[in-house]
Amino acid sequence: MSDVAFFGAVEIGLVYALVALGVYLSFRVLDFPDLTVDGSFPLGAAVAATWIVSGGNPWLGSLAAMLAGAGAGLVTALLNVRFRILHLLASILTMIALFSINLRVMGRPNVAILMQDTVLTPFYGLGLPDHIVRPLAVGVVALVAVALLAWFLTSEFGLAMRATGVNARMARAQGVETDGHVYFGIALSNALVALAGALFAQTNGFADVTTGIGTIVVGLAAVIVGETLVPLRGLAGALLGCVIGSILYRLAVQLALSADVVGLEAADLNLVTAVLVAVALILPRSRLRVAKVAK
């Protein structure tokens, strides 16, 4: 595995770490299986790319992407909370609607920003090679997101949100306004995912309507790989686990891409990735079981 490939995998892992944090917030904190992310990731990419192509400031474009993502999350929450549509279906409805909206936002299926200034442009001139600058910059964003989330989830409001996810009836009995927390949590989750989309567009030079395919799978895999393999305790540990899990997932893809030496073909990529992730999840447990049996 070359340097460029390794840091490339880390960089894409860090971009998807924001997706993992968003998914952690919806699936784990709020216990709300939210598939909106397959639409809000490309929405973030579309909004940021369109903003930048029309001459806007890339930082504001990324902020606009987050707001758009939050809006998408609010729609899902509204369908669920206000109109009592099952959370899974509510999020699927938003997700499929977002495909059309993304096409509308961009006006075409693919918007290129290869020649425009992005939030990364100021950092390219600092003397480090591009393949190091990108993961560093995205890593800073991911760590800031972890810090802010850790702070938020231990605040009084954040604790009430966690209570909502654990036991909504009990939380209501304690005077927590649970509906408001669902709205806010799902909006925040999708804002993070849309930010990931905006960063993906800016680090790779394009937004494409198909970018969203499988986002939820990658995000969920990152969360679970992090929970299983990262031995950190507590909330901050879980959030860092999401980041590390996302990087590990990308390294698994990288290994699968390099697997042609053992006679595997390009067509086997997804299978090899799945097997690698499964092995990574099973190994630590089986070792435990062996230890137990030995006793």
């Binding site: 595995m1 070359s2 340097d3 460029v4 490939a5 390794f6 840091f7 490339g8 995998a9 960089e11 894409i12 998807y16 006006g107 075409r108 693919n110 290129a112 920003i113 290869l114 020649m115 591009d130 393949h131 993906f200 680090t203 790779n204 030079g205 394009f206 494409d208 198909t210 970018t211 395919i213 499988g214 990658v218 990308r250 893809v253 990288q254 891409l257 390099s258 042609d260 390009a266 067509a267 990529l269 997804n270």
Partner: protein, 320 residues
Amino acid sequence: MWKRQAILAAMIGVALSTPVLAQTKTVAITAIVEHPALDATRDGVIDALKAAGYTPGENLKIEYQSAQGNPATAAQIARQFVGARPDVIVPISTPSAQAVVAATRDIPVVFTAVTDPVSAQLVRSMDKPGANVTGISDMAPVGEHVALIQEIVPSAKRLGVVFNPGEPNSVAMVNVLKEEAGKRGMTVVNAAANKSADVQTAARSLVGKADAIYVPLDNTVVSALEGLLAVGAQAKLPVFSADTDSVVRGTVASLGFDYRQLGRQTGEVVVRVLKGEKAGDIPVALARGTDLFINPKAAAAMGVTIPDAVAKRATKTVGQ
């Protein structure tokens, strides 16, 4: 001890049996997804490399990866290829090409099966791509279409075009058409049709203002082709199309290409880069038209005869 020696001997044996070739070139090919057209393009690239004397396994190493439909994987494949430093990277399709171009500024890139490389920001212009990037666009060979129309209807000076301004691909194609027709001394007359029901009206508006009608790759117009053909037959206005399938439905002629051929054309550019030319100095080319479809019956109905020279070149004559 014996075991270690045996392993050592085996390793030396492997090292000796692998022929060391000073001139082995590496070409890394990636596509966004497995798809008949994209796979054919890849095979075409390899055909052309073989024809130029590069044999996979001897003096050529081919690496191929498919992103299996996932742009994030496409980005990761781009980094993987850039890290491996091949002699040329060949991305097939727009997102794969964008991911590769974003990942390298020095490794030569020859993209293919990209319809509009300028608006995809892969190159600054078709004629002078600059930097490390060139390639082949799979837009229909519009220039060759204009030449074909002139060959069949030598008196044509005004070319009518019916298209939907809401379809970005047709707008891009009509812009190319204006340029290509201008080069060959023709003017283009626009007739807009926003929906299928407007196509016939738009075609009628061209009667008396155009000497021939051209149908671009426009879903709206192609879906309502029969109405347009009726106008052509009534007003003796020959109708030509950008796609060969429409010839079967009743346009006079068209020139198309298949993706294996597109791949071969791409492979020829890859060979030029392998031989030392700078990618950025090679203009981006449109796919060469190789499949000539003609429809003599439709031509007769619209008041033209197809010259023998054209009929001889035809790869398919409708009605035979």
